[in-house]
């Protein structure tokens, strides 16, 4: 009896403790979850979506995307006072930054005159310094490629630093200057219309030199920015951001941000119009790689407020897949939305591999092309989507995903499975079971990777490829696989490409000859006409003329059969009904400032009537209101 009483007391203590609000944070707290974790938060190395989201929350970028305007995305000034003045030849960009913006208070600013380390004003020279850091040979920048060869004198500055063994940040660069305290002038080597997109990326965050000098490599855990939040703590499982008390006055204008009642009404975001940003006091970001744990946490109701539907729960969670719609039980608890990723998954052949790619022998070259086409015909996109992507979504023809500028329609034969056609191609080209080359499918060791391989093997066997000639080339880690790809040792590479910015140029460069491995052109495709067209289109902004060029380039890719493309996965997102936001993990990054959380209000609880203004109260009361109007989607 005593034991039962003791257990009862202990359990009641736990119940009291566990069900309480998060204890450490004060004010409004938004608890976000991610399915991966960032490793570094130094802007020059913040290459992942996870890192980028935090980096852009704590640092300022010149531009950012309008929060609600998606497909197409639209840039707006952030630290910049307005959109840039661009010279007629498209080479000179003059950008004014906002006056009076302050870095957070930090020890790096401590001087005799400033013993408390009050944050100083952000000036144009800070941006110049931050961009130079990418070209400092001491650093390992992951973003320098965005500006490599683009800004007059920047590469030479880096080269001089390499040769001298020291970096002179005071040295002037002709194409990258702060002409006065608040004006940045950038001179390009050739027109680069995408440059403004790059200034919205975390890589272009503005960092004070004092912080880099004080913290060195430890800047990664000591960010000193001027963004809406400050980093309070960061480890492998969690990052905590708190409101930056010195953040400039910024008001949420939903109409300017692209509000559309039909698209966004269900979120209750209308209620946030006119609110000062950031709205919440604390953002907790849990890095939860385990789907089960993330799902359990989301469903608890008092832990993470945002999550995705894990693959193994999709059949239970959705009442329909086309379009995706969650079951009523979830619709009552959560807001639901889905979004096609701004990127795609695809497979490309290594065109430098003599067995499948280019050959000096014209006859073999034709045979190889037929072999690639036969493999493409064997590829069953629908089978892949059904097995690995829960049957949600459609493949697209070509390499530019729908919704991205430059997209064109093509006949569907390159994504249509045709086993008989594949067999005929092989036969006509002279391929037999005896002379077919060994097909080695590379992947990083995992159950899913093996399942991918087995599916491909099944398809190839159907077209007459001997089983013993289809092999799995398994690597212990993704790093090993990546290295093998970069060293051009794989015959085929299957991977995903997330767009760095919403412009097709970011996709077309994937097949530009000079970008071959170790660059981003993993197929090592090097086609004179394609290269020429790419160079011609490179300085063009999005236009009909450029789309025509991209269309021809895509036709070349399809004709040469560089690979099997493509498919953009669909993200299924759920967020707690006490949270007002319109979440995304595509393109946009500085999004936490727009999030609001409805705190429990006992008085309000009694009054069950909604106020009729379309605020979050409305959304909370209706199960259906929690689902997006799917008719307007995709």
């Amino acid at each position: 009896m005593r034991l039962i009483t003791f257990v009862g007391i202990v359990l009641s203590i736990f119940l009291t403790v566990s069900c309480g609000e998060r204890k450490t944070a004060k004010g409004k707290v938004y608890w976000h979850s991610e399915d991966g974790a960032p490793t570094k938060l130094d802007p020059i190395e913040s290459a992942t979506t996870y890192a980028n989201r935090i980096t852009t929350a704590v640092y300022d970028t010149l531009y950012e995307y309008k929060y609600l305007k998606r497909h197409p995305y639209e840039l707006k000034p952030n630290l910049a006072a307005n959109m840039p003045e661009i010279s007629e030849d498209g080479l000179v960009y003059t950008i004014k930054i906002k006056e009076g913006v302050k870095f957070i208070d930090d020890a790096c600013f401590k001087t005799k005159e400033n013993p408390k380390g009050k944050g100083r004003e952000v000036v144009a020279a800070d941006f110049v310094y931050s961009l130079k850091r990418h070209f400092d040979p001491k650093n390992s920048s992951q973003g320098s490629w965005l500006w490599r060869g683009r800004i007059v004198g920047l590469d030479d500055w880096g080269k001089a630093a390499r040769e001298a063994g020291t970096t002179d940040y005071a040295a002037k660069i002709k194409g990258l200057q702060a002409t006065d305290k608040y004006t940045i002038q950038i001179t390009l080597t050739e027109p680069y219309p995408q440059i403004l997109y790059t200034f919205a990326m975390g890589f272009a965050s503005v960092v004070p030199q004092e912080a880099v000098e004080k913290y060195g490599k430890q800047l990664t855990t000591n960010p000193v920015g001027s963004g809406p939040f400050m980093l309070k703590s960061f480890n492998k499982t969690k990052a905590v951001l708190v409101k930056n008390p010195t953040y400039r006055k910024e008001v949420f204008d939903i109409h300017y941000e692209g509000y559309d009642e039909e698209k966004h009404g269900f979120t209750g975001i209308k209620a946030l119009h006119g609110k000062t940003l950031p709205i919440v006091d604390t953002v907790i970001i849990s890095f939860m790689k385990q789907d089960v744990a993330r799902w359990n946490s989301l469903n608890k109701g008092n832990e993470i407020q945002f999550g995705t539907i894990p693959k193994d729960q999709i059949d239970n969670a959705l009442m329909s897949k086309k379009p995706p719609k969650v079951i009523e039980k979830l619709a009552k608890k959560f807001h639901f939305d889905y979004e096609r990723e701004s990127g795609f998954v695809f497979s490309v052949f290594n065109m430098t591999d003599p067995a499948f790619g280019y050959s000096d022998d014209p006859k073999r070259n034709e045979m190889n092309k037929a072999l690639r086409k036969a493999i493409r015909k064997a590829f069953d996109w629908q089978g892949r989507i059904d097995v690995f992507y829960a049957g949600i979504g459609e493949p697209f023809v070509g390499i530019i995903p729908p919704g991205i500028s430059g997209y064109s329609e093509f006949p569907k034969d390159s994504i249509t499975r045709d086993v008989e056609g594949a067999k005929k191609l092989l036969k006509d080209a002279g391929w037999t079971a005896e002379n077919l080359p060994v097909f080695e499918y590379p992947n990083a060791a995992s159950t899913t990777a093996t399942q991918f391989f087995e599916q491909v093997r099944g398809w190839l066997e159907e077209i007459g490829y001997p089983r013993k000639k289809i092999k799995q080339k398994e690597f212990a880690t993704f790093g090993d696989l990546n290295k093998s790809m970069k060293e051009r040792k794989n015959i085929i590479n299957s991977y995903g490409w997330g767009l760095d910015y919403p412009d097709a140029e970011n996709v077309m460069q994937l097949f530009y000859g000079p970008n071959a491995s170790p660059g981003s052109n993993a197929s090592n495709f090097d086609h004179p006409e394609y290269n020429e067209l790419f160079e011609k289109a490179k300085p063009m902004p999005d236009s009909e003329e450029r789309t025509k060029l991209y269309k021809r380039m895509t036709e070349i890719l399809l004709e040469e059969c560089v690979g099997m493309f493509g498919f953009s996965r669909t993200r299924l997102k759920l967020w707690n009904k006490n949270t007002i936001m319109y979440p995304t993990r595509e393109i946009l990054s500085n999004v936490f400032k727009y999030v609001d959380v409805i705190k429990k209000d006992k008085k309000k609880k009694k009054n069950t009537k909604a106020d009729g203004n379309g605020n979050a109260g409305d959304a909370n009361n209706s199960g259906d209101a929690g689902q997006k109007n799917t008719e307007n989607k995709e």
Binding site: L11, I13, F14, L15, V17, S18, C19, R22, K23, T24, T39, K40, D42, E45, A47, P137, S140, S141, Q142, G143, S144, W145, R148, R162, K217, Q218, L219, T220, T221, N235, K236, T237, K238, S286, F287, M288, K289, Q290, V292, A293, N296, S297, N299, K300, G301, E303, I304, A476, T477, G479, D480, N482, K483, K486, N515, P518, G519, S520
Partner: protein, 323 residues
Amino acid sequence: MDTLRYTLRKLLYSVPLILGVTLLSFTLMVYFGPDMAYEKLGKNATEEDIEREREKLGYNKPFVVRYGNFLTSVLTFDFGESFSTNQRVMDMFAETIPVSIMVALPGFILGNLISIIFGLWAAYHRGQRLDKTIMAGAVVGMSISFLIVVIVFQLLLCSDYGLNMFPTTGWEVGMNLEEFNILDYFEYVTVPAICTIFVSVGYNTRFYRAVFVEELTRDHVRTAKAFGCGPVRLLFKHVLKNSLIPILTRIILSLPFVIIGGSIIIESYFGIPGVGSVVYDAIVNGDQPITKAAVVCTAILYVFFLTLTDILYQVVDPRISLK
């Protein structure tokens, strides 16, 4: 004095052992570990960039020079900065090892205590239904994968589908004396501890039972029984006490894993910032500074605990001489 002399001699003998461990692990890292140069430079690096990065990472230096640098870092106990995170390795360990110990220790202690009790109980009733029941339970515990145990207990105790009593994720436990709150600690450690106990009790009970069964057949136990010694006194005074040497060996030699190993599964499912995931990620990504530090710390801890075990042997059995 003998103990001190023995300890010093043992530590001296451990130097070649540590050198051997470092050489072997370093060789494996150099020739079979992942190359971080590509990962550090992202998706659009040039060959020149990669070459420069390899130079920075020290990959281009001769093996002997690299191993020499490793030994220097062992001597100074400064393993530099992580290749992946840029954080100082020893700072990362200082932050994460205490967390791992706090997570693992309750399960480790309770798991061993429960196993010893079950082992004694089963051994005393050897061949009887109770013995068979305990052994069957142990086999069940051993047969279920740790991953399944973690998922099931999380579902049962932490989720909306079960009792929903404990947090699914997080570690909001003050890591210094001023902030530490015992209730917070219990809140976050209970389910991981239950998982650890569930899995460890199976293995440990079988081991301890075997030790106790052997001890129960000894003359002094039979004599004690003949003198009318009761089961509790018999088990705890005559059996357990005389079985302490294998028990100590098992427990103490598991401690380095508790301290450095952490538990990658527990940490990743419960969102606990321990050392397990740090070391795991380092091995997978080829983050050599962290891997080196983990290898060296584990080797040193092993030497320390081996020495401690030898000293404790003498404490529990004074007939043992430290020579």
